[in-house]
Symmetry: C2
Subunit: 337 residues, 2 copies
C-alpha cells in the first residue's frame, strides 16, 4: 500500500503519528509519503494546493489527513477554501462518510452505548460548497449577495447508490434528510432519486425527514437512524451534532471517498487542529485511529480493520479515569491489537 500522509497543523501531527503507528502494527510494509500541506507551508511558501500536489497525491492508494488550520496565523476560510475543499473537489471525494457510534465505555448525556450506531453519507462535491455565488455593490447599503446550491442527478445518484449499498450491508434502513418543503428544486431531485434508486434495493426501508426534524430525532431518538444520506451542508451540520450526542467528537472518524476508485480516498478525524492544546500530546488520537480503520476497510483490508476496531473498543471499555497522553493512547491501542 502506498499511503500519503498529511499530518497538517496543531494536534493533526500528533494524532496522525498514532494512526500511522497502529497501521504499521497491523499491516507491515506500508510505503508512506509525507506531505507538509497546511498553515505552516502556506505561511512559508504561499502555496495552498498546487497542481503538482494533486498529481503527487494521485500516485497513492489512500490519504491519511490529521487536521488543517491555525486561526491564529491564517485567516479563517483561507485554508478551508484553498486547501481542504479543493482536495475534496480535485480528488472527486463525493462520498463523505461519517459513522456515528456510541462505543462501550463512552458516555453520552442522551443515550446508552449500543443505542447510537448510524452512518451519515454526506455528498461531498456539490450543494452550497461549489463556490457558486456572488455579490454586487459590496459594502454599500445596496449590497446583494447570493450563494447557489448546485445539485445534479449524476452527483446525487452516485452518492445515493453508495448509501443504499451501505444500508443493505447494515440494518437495511436509509433516511434521506433534506428540506423538500422549502427547497423544491434541489429537494425534489434528491427525493426522486432516492425513490428511483430504492427500486434496486427492495430490502432497504426508506424514510425521510426534514433537516429541522432531524435535529430533534438526533437528540431524542438517535437509534431510529441506520444510514442517513444528505447533501453537503446538511451533512456538515448533522455530523457535528451526531458527534456531540455521541459524547464528543473524540471518536468521530470520516472518509472522503471517490467511490469510483479513480482517485485516492482520504481519511481524517472530524475534529480540527485545536491550536489551544497543540504541542502538548494532550489530544485523543482515537478518531484518527478510527479513520485509519475506515481506510483499511476501504482498501479491502477487512480483517485488519476489524482487528483495529476491536482494539479501540477494548481500549475504550477498559480505560480508567486517568488522563493519558496521545502516544500512551496509541500504545494502549497497539497493545490491545
Amino acid at each position: 500500500m502506498k499511503l500519503a500522509v498529511i499530518p497538517g497543523d496543531g494536534i493533526g501531527t500528533e494524532v496522525t503519528a498514532e494512526a500511522v503507528k497502529v497501521l504499521d502494527a497491523v499491516l507491515p510494509g506500508i510505503e508512506k509519503t509525507e506531505f507538509d500541506f497546511g498553515a505552516e507551508r502556506y505561511l512559508r511558501t504561499n502555496d495552498l494546493l498546487t497542481d503538482a500536489d494533486v498529481a503527487a497525491l494521485r500516485e497513492h492508494d489512500a490519504i491519511l489527513l490529521g487536521a488543517i488550520g491555525d486561526p491564529r496565523k491564517v485567516a479563517p476560510g483561507v485554508l478551508e477554501r484553498g486547501l481542504l475543499l479543493p482536495l475534496r473537489f480535485a480528488l472527486d471525494h463525493h462520498v463523505n462518510l461519517r459513522p456515528s457510534r456510541l462505543y462501550p465505555g463512552e458516555r453520552s448525556p442522551l443515550a446508552e452505548p449500543g443505542e447510537i450506531d448510524f452512518v451519515v453519507v454526506r455528498e461531498g462535491t456539490e450543494g452550497l460548497y461549489t463556490g457558486n455565488g456572488g455579490a454586487i455593490r459590496v459594502g454599500t447599503p445596496h449590497e446583494v449577495a447570493t450563494e447557489t446550491s448546485m445539485n445534479t442527478r449524476f452527483g446525487v445518484e452516485r452518492v445515493v447508490r453508495d448509501a443504499f449499498e451501505r444500508a443493505a450491508a447494515r440494518r437495511n434502513k436509509l433516511t434521506l434528510v433534506h428540506k423538500t418543503n422549502v427547497l423544491v428544486n434541489g429537494g425534489g431531485l434528491w427525493q426522486r432519486t432516492v425513490t428511483e434508486v430504492s427500486r434496486d434495493y427492495p430490502g432497504v426501508e426508506v424514510d425521510y425527514c426534514h433537516i429541522d426534524a432531524a435535529m430533534i430525532y438526533l437528540v431524542d431518538n438517535p437509534s431510529r437512524f441506520d444510514v442517513i444520506v444528505t447533501d453537503n451542508l446538511f451533512g456538515d451540520i448533522i455530523t457535528d451534532l451526531a458527534g456531540a450526542v455521541t459524547g464528543g467528537i473524540g471518536t468521530a472518524a470520516s472518509g472522503n471517498i471517490d467511490a469510483s476508485g479513480t482517485n485516492p480516498s482520504m481519511f481524517e478525524p472530524v475534529h480540527g487542529s485545536a491550536p489551544d492544546i497543540a504541542g502538548q500530546q494532550l489530544a485523543d488520537p482515537t478518531a484518527a485511529i478510527l479513520s485509519a480503520v475506515l481506510l483499511l476497510r476501504h482498501l479491502g483490508h477487512e480483517a485488519e480493520a476489524v482487528r483495529v476496531e476491536d482494539a479501540v473498543e477494548s481500549f475504550l471499555s477498559n480505560r480508567g479515569e486517568d488522563e493519558m497522553s496521545t502516544p500512551e493512547i496509541g500504545d494502549a491501542i497497539v497493545a490491545a491489537l
Copy 2:
C-alpha cells in the same frame, strides 16, 4: 386590540383556544376575527392565501396562529409554500423571534433550569426561503437543480439591528451563526453587517460561530448563548435543536415580526399540527400561550405579558406527573394569573 386568529389544522385549533382564553383573562375586550386558513379550507375551496386574505389580516394589530398542515390530506410542501411562507413574505415578517428557555419544572437531559435562556433572531424573508432556484432536464440523468440563497444588506441589517436591540435589553451578548468559511458571499455580508452595526452597541459583546460548531455548543454549553442572530435556514435548524435541548418543543414559542410596524406581526407555537393526536385535547397549549406572551409584549402590554409568563412559570414549577388535558392546562394557567 384587533386580533386575527388563525387556529389552523389539527391541534392548532385546540391550543389556540387556550391561548385566546388566557389573552381574554388578562386583557378584556380584545376584538377577534377568526380566519379558517389551512388544510380544510384548501380542500374545500382550493384557496391557500388570497390577496383578500392578506388585506383582511392587515386590518388587525396582530395575528395568533395555531398550526398549519395535514400531511394525510394535503401533500407536504403545498401549505408551507402556499400559505405559511407567503404569509411571512406578504406581511414582511423579517424578524423570526424564537426564545429558548428551560423553565423551572421542565426537564432536559442536558441542562438544569436557568442554564438555558437565549433568543434566536432568525431572518424570515431572505436566504434559501425565497423560492429562488430552478431545474433543467428534470427526471433525466442530466437533471441540474439549483437553490439560491438571496441576501441583501437591507434585509440583513434590519434583522441584525433588531438582534442588537434585544441583546442590549438582555445579557449584552450577540452571537452570529453562519458558515462564513464556505459561504463567502452571503457569510461576508452577514459578518460585515454585524461588525458595522456593533459600533452602535459598544456595550454588546459580539461572538461568531459556524453552524456546525453551533450544534456542538447547543448540546454541550447552551448557556454560552444570549442572542443568536442568523439566516433563515440556519435559524430553522438551530431553533428545532434548541427546542430539543430545552426538553421538548412543548414550550417553544415564536413571533414572526415586522419590526417596522407596517404589517401585523404573527405569533405561533413552533410545534406543528400533530394530526396523530388531534381532536383529543391531548396537546400541550403552553407554547401557544407563551406565543401570546410574545404578542402582548410586542404590542406594548408588558405588564400583561409578565403576568402570563409568571403564571406559566408557576404552573410549570408546580405541575405534577398527571397528564392534563389541553383545556385543563389552559384553566390552570388562567387560575395562576
